[in-house]
Symmetry: C2
Subunit: 147 residues, 2 copies
DNA sequence: ACTTTACCTTAACTTAGGTTAAGGTTTTAA
DNA sequence: TTAAAACCTTAACCTAAGTTAAGGTAAAGT
């Protein structure tokens, strides 16, 4: 195995994830590999960054489905450049801005609304389901926390 | 049924949730009911606020488990007062402050780190798993979004 | 009185993001 | 060369937060 190809165990170790996670990501279409003569997975070093980005994105609450979608904007025929990656993260940043603003708004209403009983009023953003973020129309957000 | 008792269907309608959700919450110990002669659930009107609070808390990413825990601080022998509810939400507010700050930090690192490759460095909060929020030691955060 | 609506319980199913186990093959290291 | 370590696939399992279905009882409306 030259420097340019990595086994699944090696990728797992360098990224701090389990081998089964890599199988899972591949099955979901988030990463790619080819097989050697013995049917074992081989990876380009490029995969390391992909996995780091997946982990970073998950940390800010982006789902694998959204990540997969974003990865569609990466070039197929060449290794992504710094600019390719930055474009991707810039889009996510804007989404994050919206989510942060939304959370702040909810936080600001929290004490007041829970105490006062306006929860049943249609003006309270804590209660109203038709509020904000329709702009992003994404699924549930999972913010993975560290322990 | 006097004004002071509600059937499960009535509670469901007034809170905008399904009957099955109320069964589920009861099973999880988040709400309580008693039974009438025909084995049907009956609720105190107080339950309406509990459910509103559950929904509000979920919206800011608090899990049912955490909500259940927080509800332990409510009085058992009397209907919770405004002060009881406000104490509860004040605690959540502080947690939210921390989460927002953490998200902001991640957002700020997003473009830079994903582009530059520092994702594999231990200093980058996007990569480093031992970062922040250890203060709250909670499970994954789910931010339910509206469509 | 009768029919419809509401309710009951139990069990299985759903999505996301994986993890674990079982049983068999390939690589690597001594 | 042989044993251990790494790898393969398939299938089942896990948590959270519910939802759906099936089969049966209670309550309410006409």
């Amino acid at each position: 195995m030259t420097e340019a190809t990595l086994s699944v165990g090696r990728v797992a170790k360098r990224c701090g994830v389990k081998v089964s996670t890599l199988h899972f990501y591949e099955q979901k279409g988030l990463i790619k590999s080819w097989r050697n003569d013995g049917n074992q997975r081989r990876y380009k070093p490029e995969v390391l960054r992909r996995i780091s980005v997946i982990k970073a994105a998950q940390k800010v609450g982006i789902s694998l489905e959204e990540i997969k979608l974003a990865f569609l904007s990466l070039p197929d025929n060449r290794t992504p450049t710094v600019e390719d990656w930055q474009l991707l993260s810039t889009n996510w940043q804007q989404m994050l801005d919206a989510r942060i603003a939304y959370l702040q708004k909810l936080r600001d209403y929290m004490t007041g609304c829970i105490g006062c009983g306006c929860l049943s009023m249609s003006k309270c953003p804590l209660y109203n389901p038709d509020d904000v973020l329709a702009t992003q129309g994404t699924g549930p957000v999972i913010l993975e926390q560290t322990e």
